[in-house]
Symmetry: C2
């Protein structure tokens, strides 16, 4: 099981719908080429500078960061980091010269030599954009004093990909939208938010295939807009989506067939002896809907933790035994039964 001091084992504001909030800042050194054009020596130089600034910086958090050399990180651990959204899936490949600086509670992670020299990422449970942005901003300011990030008076922060130019900020919220998905509202919602400068996409597959019904809503515009304005726009639209999802849930959960499905999902999760990650993802989504609407009396943090612990990389890297695919499905079933408090009849 994951440690209970990790940020994602807690529930946050609007936690019935919002899993988490993320702020990601793309930053680059002005005196070194972008990642796509760097030499190995330059990669090492970037890594050295960032490592020194973070670990030996004159700030309270310095002692609480871990340094992870991604090139030599065991694959399952790297996959587990991606499952916890601490790194991008591509970053888990462990390319030469890549590294991660990770705060102990995992709420702050800094990818080094991903698409940009630095990707500073702050995570918070629930809808908590201001808090997440404040932390990201403070870290950015402290590091900027030492590292002197590339900044253009007219363009703002310079980034390898032009779509990040300006604020270099990507703000996003992870939403659990089982009701809107079931009512077939996702396509229309995607069109609507696109017109407002946002994007929404499934995190476990697109459209109705999004088994877990988890969607990421994020800003697209980084140029000609302030960080505060971008965040305000995202929060405002997120709140409308949250309200829509709550209405849809009310409508849906009055139906005994939906209650039935929620209860059966709980029944299966507390009894199954083998469980693929795909099936788990669908069933836990139903159970989360049940817990969020009061149909099931299960604390949300139990579910949040399971959403991490039952993922393949995290499960395998935390297991005391060697797990092949078949054994992993047995172990997943055991872990889920235990977490949801199944009792032998």
């Amino acid at each position: 099981m994951t440690d209970s001091n990790k940020w994602y084992t807690q529930s946050g504001p609007d936690g019935d719908v919002v899993l988490s909030t993320r702020i990601r800042l793309a930053r680059n050194f002005s005196d070194i080429p972008f990642v796509g054009r760097m030499t190995d020596a330059q990669k090492a130089q970037v890594e050295e500078r960032v490592r020194d600034a973070v670990l030996n910086g004159n700030w309270a958090l310095a002692g609480n960061f871990h340094y992870i050399d991604m090139e030599h990180c065991p694959h399952v651990q790297a996959v587990s980091l991606a499952e916890r959204h601490l790194i991008s899936p591509e970053f888990s490949q462990g390319a030469a010269g890549t590294a991660l600086l990770l705060l102990e509670d995992e709420s702050v992670s800094i990818m080094v030599n991903e698409e940009d020299h630095l990707r500073i990422q702050v995570m918070r449970p629930g809808l908590d954009l201001n808090e997440a942005y404040d932390t990201a901003d403070k870290i950015d300011t402290l590091l900027d004093e030492k590292l002197n990030f590339a900044f253009h008076d007219r363009l703002g922060y310079l980034t390898q990909c032009p779509t990040n130019l300006g604020t270099g900020m990507r703000a996003s919220v992870m939403l659990h939208l089982p009701a809107l998905q079931e009512l077939g509202s996702m396509n229309q919602l995607a069109n609507t938010v696109a017109k407002l400068g946002l994007t929404i996409r499934g995190t476990y597959g697109e459209g109705s295939d999004a088994k877990g019904a988890v969607y990421q809503l994020s800003n697209q515009v980084t140029l000609g807009i302030s960080e505060q304005a971008a965040i305000e726009n995202l929060r405002s639209i997120a709140q409308q989506v949250i309200a829509q999802e709550r209405n849809a849930r009310k409508q849906l959960c009055a139906d005994v067939r939906v209650q039935d499905r929620i209860w059966r999902s709980y029944g299966i999760l507390t009894t199954a002896r083998t469980l693929t990650v795909k099936e788990f993802t669908g069933l836990i989504s139903n159970v989360r809907l049940g817990a969020a609407t009061g149909i099931l009396n299960i604390p949300m943090d139990v579910i949040s933790r399971l959403l991490i612990d039952a993922m393949p990389g995290t499960m395998i890297s935390q297991s005391k035994q060697e797990l092949d695919a078949a054994k992993a499905d047995l172990e997943r079933a055991r872990l889920v039964r235990e977490a949801l408090g199944a009792n032998r009849p």
Copy 2:
């Protein structure tokens, strides 16, 4: 819920595989035509004679029989009687001049003017052919003294249908054969027992469609064989089938996928909010297999009782509210959850 003094709420010998044993004797009066050729007056005469012999007979059980006029019996109650195997499905149609005499614990039922003037039926839980036959024989002897059944020195008891001529006895055992069914052994088994003068058939549909995996094994030969020999033949073959089923279960239940299915079936039955009789039949069969093999710690009598209580006619006739099909599925789910001891998480 059914009363706990009913015979089918108990478990009997070899109860892991055998649900029940039934002896049925076909008897006719010698001075009245067979049912197919009777007048209404003659039907009434038969009914009157049997009723008087049973209810006012000089025997210990006389006071414990109930008389049910099938023609005026409410349809759901008649269906419920058929679900409890106390009458044949055809008899539940309530044709004019038909009646049932039913012992309080429902272990003895006498159908009047079904295919024969009398069909004396004795039921026992588990494999208990001797006990069932002894009881049937005693009742037959007592009634014969008063009623003088049609008997031919060479042919034996005369019956309307020639296939019952001779002993007039049909002995049968209800077997739960989920493992043999799953291993695809039922067709071969049917061929084998046919050569030995027996027949085996699914009670909820034929072949692999037999959702509940409940099969009736019964004797076919009534002419040129004594009752004792017929019963001995049936018992001997039943015991071989039981042994085969137990072996098949051992093989099957070592497979975690089968354990998984058994547990999930239990999980669904203890949580579902709506449950059709078809789905229930399949799931309770898995749960019964689990209980019989020690995978689930559920008393067999809880399951035996549910197999009756959750059937449509019995459920509707025992319910305090009016039940349409949709409401019946809700009520069935509630009843099953309660019986299997589900707790809210």
